[in-house]
C-alpha cells in the first residue's frame, strides 16, 4: 500500500500530531507539491482560522469515524488511508458547501463561524459525545458503530435536513475512493480503457470503476 498523501500533510512529532500551525502546513504542502511535480503556486491555501485547526482528539475522532463509515475488509478502511484528515481539511475549505451559512443558526450556535457556517468537526465531536453520554471514543466498537449509524440514519431521513453529518460523510467517502487504496484496490482504476464495451454481464462482487467521473457526478 502506498502511503496516503494526506497523512503526510500533517505535522507530526514522535508519531503524534503537534497541532495545526499554518507555517508548518505551508511547508509540508510545498514539499508535497515538489514531490508531485506541481508548481507550488497550484497549492494555494486559504488563511486557515486557528479555530479550524483540529485538535489531536478531533483527528483521532475523524479517523475512527471514517473507519466506521468504510471499515477494513480485504482492503483498508477509510480511517487507515487518511480520509479523516482529508475531510477535516476540505471541510474547512468549503467542499460540499461546508462553508455556506446554515439556516438553523440556533441549533448550531456554539459551532458557528463568523460567516455563518458550521465548524463541522467540532459539531461532530460534541454530537457524538452527547449521544454516547460521555466520551464517544471510549465506547466499545459495537456501540460506536450503533451511535454513528443512528446519527447517519437521522441525517439522511429527510432531504431538508441540514445536518452537518451529510457533508462530513460525503467527504469521507470522497477521501476514501480518491485514495490509492480506495480507488485502485477496493475499486478498479482504469486510466486508459482504450475501448468502450457497451454491454457486459455484471456478476455479484464485480468491482466498480472509481474513475468513471460521469457516474460520480450524476450517479
Amino acid at each position: 500500500m502506498v502511503q496516503p498523501v494526506w497523512g503526510e500533510w500533517w505535522p507530526m512529532q514522535d508519531g503524534q500530531p503537534t497541532g495545526w500551525k499554518r507555517r508548518d502546513f505551508m511547508g509540508a504542502a510545498a514539499l508535497v507539491a515538489l514531490a508531485l511535480g506541481l508548481p507550488t503556486a497550484a497549492v494555494a491555501f486559504t488563511e486557515l482560522d486557528e479555530k479550524d485547526a483540529p485538535t489531536s482528539h478531533q483527528r483521532t475522532l475523524m479517523k475512527e469515524v471514517s473507519q466506521l463509515v468504510i471499515p477494513r475488509s480485504a482492503t483498508p478502511g477509510a480511517g487507515e488511508v487518511g480520509a479523516g484528515d482529508f475531510a477535516i481539511l476540505v471541510l474547512a475549505h468549503g467542499l460540499e458547501n461546508s462553508r455556506k451559512p446554515v439556516k438553523d443558526t440556533a441549533a448550531y450556535a456554539r459551532f458557528l463561524r463568523n460567516d455563518g457556517s458550521v465548524r463541522h468537526v467540532a459539531w461532530l465531536e460534541r454530537e457524538l459525545d452527547l449521544r454516547a453520554g460521555g466520551d464517544f471514543l471510549g465506547a466499545d466498537a459495537t456501540r460506536r458503530a450503533a451511535l454513528l449509524g443512528a446519527l447517519d440514519a437521522e441525517a439522511f431521513a429527510s432531504r431538508a435536513s441540514e445536518s452537518p453529518w451529510k457533508a462530513i460523510k460525503a467527504l469521507i467517502v470522497t477521501g476514501y475512493y480518491t485514495s490509492e487504496p480506495g480507488g485502485s484496490e477496493e475499486l478498479r482504476y482504469e486510466p486508459v480503457p482504450g475501448r468502450f464495451d457497451p454491454d457486459l454481464p455484471l456478476k455479484p462482487g464485480d468491482r466498480a470503476i472509481s474513475n468513471d467521473w460521469t457516474a460520480v457526478d450524476f450517479g
Binding site: V2, V5, A29, V32, L36, L38, A42, F45, T46, L68, V69, I70, P71, S73, F86, V90, A92, H93, G94, L95, E96, A145, L148, G149, F156, K169, A170, V173, T174, G175, T178, E180, G183, E186, L187, Y189, E190, P191, P193, G194, R195, F196, D197, P198, D199, L200, P201, L202, G205, D206, R207, A208, I209, S210, D212, T214, A215, D217, F218, G219
Partner: protein
C-alpha cells in the same frame, strides 16, 4: 509587425481562420490573450486523484475567492482549473436585474481545449427560424450555402457519429459512431417505436479512427478531455488546426497579448491593424495587416468592436446600424428528467465514453406543436450506472455501505434539454460606463434574461422527457423545467449578427462587416439565431467559408 491578416483569438474559430488563411498563402499573425499551452504538455492529464493536492476535486476556498463563476462549470475541477480564467483577474459586470455566468478559457487554444465536443449541423429549420416567426432578423444564408463547408470541417477535425437521415439534424461526414450502451439501445428502440423520435449517439469531435498523418490517435475512452489530450483524439486548436497552420511556414503566434483596439482609417474605410497589451509586463504593441479576423469568442469580439469606437464610428466599430451588442443568446438548459432502469442491473459497460446521446428536435418543424413557443428543443444525456458518488448522498455506513459501493450501482438515464433562445434586443452587451479591468479597458456589461418562450419550451421538454422514459420502462425520480443562469450552456452567441440589411445587422453573408470590408467576425458573435444544437461546428464552417471569400476578395483587389 506587418502581416497579410491578423486573427484575434486562437480557439475553435481562430485556429480555423489561421489554418485557412495560411494555407491560402497569407502571412498571418494569430494573437492570443492567454498563455501558451503546448500540445502534449498537459500538466494534469495523467495524474491519478491521489496525486493531486486536493484529490482532483480542488480547493473550494480558492474557488470561492477567485473562480466563483468558472467553478459553476461541471467540467471545472482541480485537473482543469488551469484551462479556465481566474474570475478575480478577468472581471465583467451584469446589468441590474441580470445574471450571467460567463465561462471562459484564456489560453492558446481557448475553449477548444475545454469544449464539450458535440458537433451538430444546423438545418433550414434553424436558418429559416427568424424569418418564419419574425423574431430577430433573417439569416442571409441557408443550409445549402454551408453544407460543403460542414463537409470540409468535419473531415478535417474528425467527427464520430451515426447517419440518421433526419432533415432537422443533417448527417455529416462521420467516422464510425461510438456505441450506445445497453440501456440507451433499449430506449432508442422504444422512443422510435412509440413516438417516432430519434435518439442517437452524440456526434462528437472525438475520433474513432486515427489520423496518423496528422499525429492524432483514436479516442482512448478516458473522458478526461478538458485536461488536454496528448493522444490528439479530440479536436482542439493544439491537436488539429495549429499544426496545420504552422506547417505552412506562414504563421506567427503571439500569446499573452490582449488586443485592446482595432485601428481604423476613415480615409480608406479599412481597419489597419490591432493594438495590444502584453499581459505580463503591461507594455503595448501594435501590428498591421490587410485583413482582420475577429475570433476572440462571441462576447469578446463584440467587446473589442465596442471598444474600438473612434471619431468616425463613435458607437463602435462597424456599428452604423446601432445593433452591435444586441440580441445575444445562450441556450436555456435544464435537467429535464432522471429515470431509473433497475431491470438492467445485471448488465454493465467498460470504458469512459466521452459523449452521451442526443434526442433530435421534433417540435415546431412542419407542424407548430410547441406549447407557448415557436422553436425547438433537443435532449442530450445518457444512461449510466452509479458508483461511489452515490455513497455521498445516501444513508448507510459500515460493511454494508462498502459492499454496496464495491460494484456498479443502479442504472439511470438522464435527459438534459437545450432549447432555442429567442433573439431579443433587450439581451445585450455594452461597455460598462464606470468599471475598467487591470489594463484600463472598460469592462463588458452583460444584460440578459430568458423569457416566456424559453420557459415554455423547457416546461414542455420536461413533460416529454418523463413521458418518453416512462414509456421505455423507466421510473422517473425527478425533473426540472426552469433554465439555469444564462451562460451555463456555454453557448453564448450573437451581438454582431449576420443579415441582409446593413441597417439591421453588423455582418453580411460572408461574415464580413457591412461597414468595414476588410473586417471579418467569424466566431459566435455572428449568429442571428441560436437553434437548439451546439453551435461550434457551425462557427467553424462559417469561418472556413469566410476565409475562402476573404482570400478571393483580396486577390480580386476588392478589399
Amino acid at each position: 509587425m506587418q502581416f497579410d491578416a491578423i486573427v484575434v483569438g486562437s480557439g475553435i474559430t481562430g485556429g480555423w481562420a489561421a489554418k485557412e488563411l495560411t494555407q491560402a498563402g497569407l502571412k498571418v499573425l494569430m494573437i492570443e490573450r492567454g498563455r501558451e499551452i503546448v500540445h502534449g504538455e498537459y500538466e494534469t492529464e495523467l495524474k491519478a486523484p491521489w496525486e493531486m493536492p486536493f484529490r482532483g476535486v480542488g480547493d473550494a476556498a480558492l474557488y470561492a475567492r477567485e473562480y466563483q463563476v468558472q467553478s459553476q462549470n461541471r467540467h471545472f475541477n482541480e485537473y482543469t482549473q488551469g484551462h479556465f480564467v481566474n474570475d478575480k483577474d478577468n472581471p465583467y459586470t451584469t446589468a441590474p436585474g441580470s445574471e450571467f455566468n460567463w465561462l471562459r478559457s484564456y489560453q492558446l487554444g481557448g475553449r477548444s481545449l475545454t469544449w464539450g465536443r458535440q458537433t451538430y449541423r444546423w438545418s433550414d429549420y434553424d436558418f429559416g427560424a427568424n424569418k418564419r416567426d419574425g423574431n430577430g432578423t433573417d439569416w442571409p444564408i441557408r443550409y445549402a450555402d454551408l453544407a460543403p463547408w460542414y463537409d470540409k470541417v468535419e473531415e478535417f477535425i474528425g467527427v464520430s457519429g451515426a447517419a440518421e437521415g433526419l432533415p432537422q439534424l443533417p448527417d455529416g461526414k462521420f467516422q464510425p459512431p461510438m456505441a450506445l450502451n445497453v440501456v440507451e439501445q433499449h430506449v432508442r428502440k422504444e422512443i422510435a417505436g412509440k413516438f417516432g423520435r430519434c435518439m442517437t449517439i452524440g456526434r462528437t469531435a472525438n475520433m474513432t479512427v486515427a489520423k496518423p498523418e496528422e499525429g492524432r490517435a483514436e479516442c482512448q475512452n478516458r473522458s478526461i478531455c478538458a485536461r488536454g489530450c496528448s493522444f490528439g483524439a479530440y479536436f482542439s486548436t493544439q491537436s488539429s488546426t495549429l499544426p496545420a497552420a504552422k506547417a505552412t511556414g506562414n504563421l506567427t503566434v503571439v500569446t499573452d497579448a490582449v488586443v485592446e483596439k482595432l485601428d481604423y482609417d476613415p480615409k480608406t474605410n479599412r481597419v489597419t491593424g490591432v493594438r495590444y497589451i502584453n499581459t505580463k509586463d503591461g507594455s503595448r504593441g501594435a501590428a498591421t495587416a490587410r485583413l482582420v479576423f475577429l475570433n476572440a469568442s462571441a462576447f469578446n469580439s463584440v467587446h473589442l468592436m465596442l471598444n474600438s469606437r473612434n471619431d468616425a464610428m463613435p458607437r463602435g466599430l462597424a456599428n452604423s446600424s446601432g445593433v452591435l451588442g444586441t440580441q445575444i443568446m445562450d441556450h436555456p438548459s435544464t435537467l429535464s428528467t432522471i429515470a431509473l432502469f433497475p431491470q438492467f442491473n445485471d448488465r454493465t459497460t467498460f470504458g469512459n465514453r466521452p459523449t452521451g446521446v442526443v434526442v433530435a428536435r421534433y417540435r415546431n418543424m412542419d407542424a407548430m406543436d410547441g406549447v407557448g413557443h415557436s422553436r425547438g428543443y433537443s435532449f442530450q444525456g445518457g444512461a449510466l450506472q452509479s458508483n461511489w458518488g452515490a455513497g455521498k448522498r445516501e444513508a448507510g455506513i459500515g460493511t454494508a455501505l462498502k459492499d454496496k459501493l464495491h460494484s456498479p450501482g443502479m442504472w439511470r438515464m438522464v435527459l438534459v434539454a437545450f432549447a432555442d433562445c429567442v433573439p431579443r434586443d433587450s439581451n445585450r452587451l455594452t461597455l460598462d460606463a464606470a468599471k475598467t479591468d487591470r489594463f484600463g479597458i472598460p469592462q463588458l456589461q452583460i444584460q440578459f434574461a430568458f423569457g416566456k418562450e424559453e420557459q415554455a419550451a423547457l416546461a414542455q421538454a420536461k413533460a416529454d422527457a418523463a413521458e418518453m422514459l416512462t414509456s421505455a420502462g423507466g421510473t422517473v425520480i425527478m425533473g426540472m423545467d426552469q433554465p439555469g443562469t444564462g451562460g451555463m450552456a456555454i453557448h453564448e452567441m450573437g451581438g454582431a449578427r449576420m443579415g441582409h440589411d446593413p441597417k439591421t445587422s453588423v455582418l453580411n453573408k460572408w461574415s464580413q462587416a457591412h461597414d468595414v470590408p476588410n473586417l471579418f467576425v467569424t466566431d459566435g458573435a455572428q449568429m442571428a439565431s441560436s437553434a437548439c444544437q451546439n453551435p461550434s461546428l457551425t462557427y467553424m464552417a462559417l469561418t472556413a467559408r469566410a476565409c475562402d471569400a476573404a482570400v478571393k476578395m483580396l486577390r480580386e483587389g476588392k478589399i
